[in-house]
């Protein structure tokens, strides 16, 4: 059975300063039941504005937002059946944990004993023991615990759609990863539909069924995290999702069966996994782990010099400057070089992974 999307955004725009600034520029977006979609982009790309418009905290200048098939234009936030976990968490400082979580239910006018039961269940869901935490003041909680309270407070009202505005930005990496995994499992368990707004591509990749990359108010690419990482459609998207090596294309030598052979400005020809109409300013892009570094020339490789090398979390990385002056990052799980700064090395690129993209 075909299910209807929880959220449908059609042709949404939000301009400021009488149209001079296009914060959100004609975007379309669907969120299916049980799906987390991340909106990923640099600050000022329009992702937060989009989220605020969905919540009703900001109004669009054009376009339509539908929640569960109903146009919500003109509906204030408290009538939209969405939940929002704020970047600042926005825990009410004058209320206990229990009062915070119960707030939405009180506004719905539920009976006291029903509220009690739901609050206890919500606190258990986010792994805060109700006996221990219900009576606590927000000032007595750690950052991770506040995070859980904010989540419980939003989930307890069972909104049709949950919006996350980078709620984990303030946590350190380890806790953030842990919370992301946990949030993901809660979302699966409840079958929540959610929009997760962030500039942190790692969290977005861990959390989402689909990722949408935004820049300057426009959606650049949408797809699963793997799709976007493996087949970015622009240099911007590739740069935004982790480390990328970029070589400018001088000439396309051959295009056949959806593959290409190109001459780069590094002086070497490369086989790449896609083809396309390449105008001015096209690039070959590939990831650091899509390279192989050799201490001796294997033939058809780039020659370069190691500038520096690091070892981090089981990965060896080398910064290499090619003969033509291009900088490159190579990465491997094994230390196949044992080389240090100043050594000459040769680099090949996995032809099944390298891609050509426009600027």
């Amino acid at each position: 059975m075909e299910q209807n999307p929880v959220l449908e955004i059609r042709n949404l725009s939000r301009t400021f300063a009488h149209g001079a600034v296009r914060a959100v520029d004609q975007i379309d977006l669907d969120v299916q039941p049980g799906e987390i979609v991340s909106i990923l982009g640099p600050s000022g790309c329009g992702k937060t504005t989009t989220m605020r418009i969905i919540a009703g905290l900001d109004l669009p200048t054009a376009g339509e937002v539908r929640i569960l098939g109903k146009n919500v234009a003109g509906k204030p936030p408290h009538q939209r059946n969405v939940g929002l976990v704020f970047q600042s968490l926005a825990i009410f400082p004058h209320m206990s944990v229990k009062q915070n979580v119960a707030f939405g239910l009180r506004m719905q006018g539920l009976a006291r004993n029903l509220i009690e039961a739901k609050v206890a269940k919500a606190l258990e869901l986010v792994q805060l023991s109700p006996e221990k935490f219900a009576g606590r003041r927000p000032s007595e909680l750690s950052g991770g615990q506040l995070q859980r309270v904010a989540l419980a407070r939003t989930l307890v009202t069972e909104p049709a759609l949950v919006l996350f505005d980078e709620p984990m930005a303030a946590l350190d990496r380890r806790l953030r990863d842990y919370m992301a995994v946990e949030l993901r499992s809660i979302q699966k368990q409840l079958g929540l539909a959610a929009v997760y707004v962030t500039h942190d591509q790692e969290t977005a990749s861990m959390m989402s069924d689909r990722v949408i990359i935004m820049n300057a108010g426009k959606i650049l690419q949408a797809g699963t995290p793997e799709e976007i990482y493996e087949t970015p459609n622009s240099k911007f998207v590739s740069d935004f999702l982790g480390d990328t090596n970029t070589l400018r294309i001088e000439r396309v030598l051959e295009q056949k069966d959806g593959k290409s052979l190109v001459q780069t400005n590094a002086g070497v020809t490369i086989r790449v996994a896609n083809s396309g109409d390449i105008g001015e300013g096209a690039f070959v892009i590939f990831r650091p782990e899509q390279t192989i570094v050799y201490p001796a020339d294997p033939g058809g490789a780039f020659e370069g010099e190691v500038v520096s090398s690091q070892f981090r979390s089981g990965l060896h990385r080398w910064q290499i400057v090619l003969r033509g002056g291009n900088k490159l990052i190579a990465q491997s799980t094994e230390n196949r070089l044992a080389s240090s700064a100043g050594d000459t090395v040769w680099v090949t690129i996995d032809p099944g992974k390298a891609r050509i993209v426009r600027q």
Binding site: L84, F86, F103, Q108, R153, T154
Partner: protein
């Protein structure tokens, strides 16, 4: 912490990371300390006079002044004074809230500046001048009565001067800045995201104010109300000019006793009462601070 205190409390890190060579910050208080010390001596002199004999304030000992203070007439005046201070504190706080809200919410710098200057005017202009201004407006043939009788045909429709209404109006108007500034400081410290969170959680505007904004702004509003109450228990110029002979306050009686009637002990006893009132109000303030200390980290 009250809004006033939190705005002047140093950053936590400044307290913890004390520099190796501590500057002698106590020196900063010497000039004002000397003045306040002098004032304390005066207060002690007043205390001594209140238990002295009339015409022998420095040598005699007597509680006669306090017996006189407890006379029916004086008790009436004391209750009157406290009642009007209380009422003016309440009204001023209610009037101040929307002004404070406007000051914190307006995006127009010009509007904020203009309103702020208008709010601060009572502190800049002499109380005497302001009271005379009210007399011109409220008097039997004042602007207000003329306007109303022109509109309705009733002659001298309202009696606003030389009664409590006039005094209250004057007290409220002259103490508005005392209530607006702490309330605005408290409102400014409430992040807009709390309001938005309440909104998304299903609270409409009225409920957001009731459950979020007012509880969080309350310490600042209370601090303002206490300031207004303290300020108005000692009010002199406003009740003297707008109350005429009908409405008398403690401060006016003190002037009469120490001036024309030269009953220094009674005047001193009333002054002691005023000082005690001020101290009581201050400790009330501390109480509010303590109950709210846990709210604002």
């Amino acid at each position: 912490m009250t809004a006033i205190e939190s705005s002047i409390t140093p950053l936590q890190s400044m307290e913890n990371d004390a520099p190796i060579r501590k500057p002698q910050i106590g020196l900063l208080l010497i000039p004002s300390g000397m003045l306040i010390g002098l004032l304390l001596v005066c207060a002690l002199v007043v205390l001594r006079m209140s238990v002295g004999e009339r015409d022998a304030e420095w040598t005699g000992w007597s509680l006669k002044a306090y017996v006189q203070l407890a006379s029916a007439r004086n008790i009436g005046i004391i209750i009157d004074t406290i009642w009007m201070a209380l009422l003016s504190a309440l009204i001023t706080t209610l009037v101040a809230f929307p002004i404070a809200l406007f000051l914190t919410r307006t995006t127009s710098t010009l509007a904020r500046r203009v309103v702020l200057i208008a709010i601060l005017l009572p502190m800049i202009i002499s109380l005497l001048v302001q009271s005379f201004g009210w007399m011109a407006i409220l008097g039997p043939n004042g602007l207000l009565n003329q306007a109303i009788s022109a509109a309705t045909g009733i002659e001298r429709p309202l009696s606003l001067l030389f009664n409590r209404t006039g005094v209250l109006l004057g007290l409220v108007q002259t103490s508005i800045p005392l209530a607006v500034l702490p309330a605005a400081a408290a409102l400014r410290s409430i992040p807009i995201s709390l309001e938005e969170a309440a909104n998304v959680l299903g609270a409409n505007r009225i409920r957001t104010y009731r459950h979020i904004i007012l509880p969080l702004a309350w310490p600042g509003m209370a601090a303002g109300a206490i300031l207004v109450f303290g300020f108005n228990t000692g009010a002199f110029a406003v009740p003297l000019l707008l109350g005429g002979l009908k409405v008398t306050t403690i401060a006016v009686v003190i002037r009469d006793q120490m001036g024309s009637l030269s009953n220094w002990p009674l005047g001193a006893a009333l002054s002691v009462l005023l000082i005690l009132l001020a101290l009581a109000v201050q400790s009330l303030n501390r109480l509010i601070v303590r109950t709210n200390a846990e709210i604002k980290e």
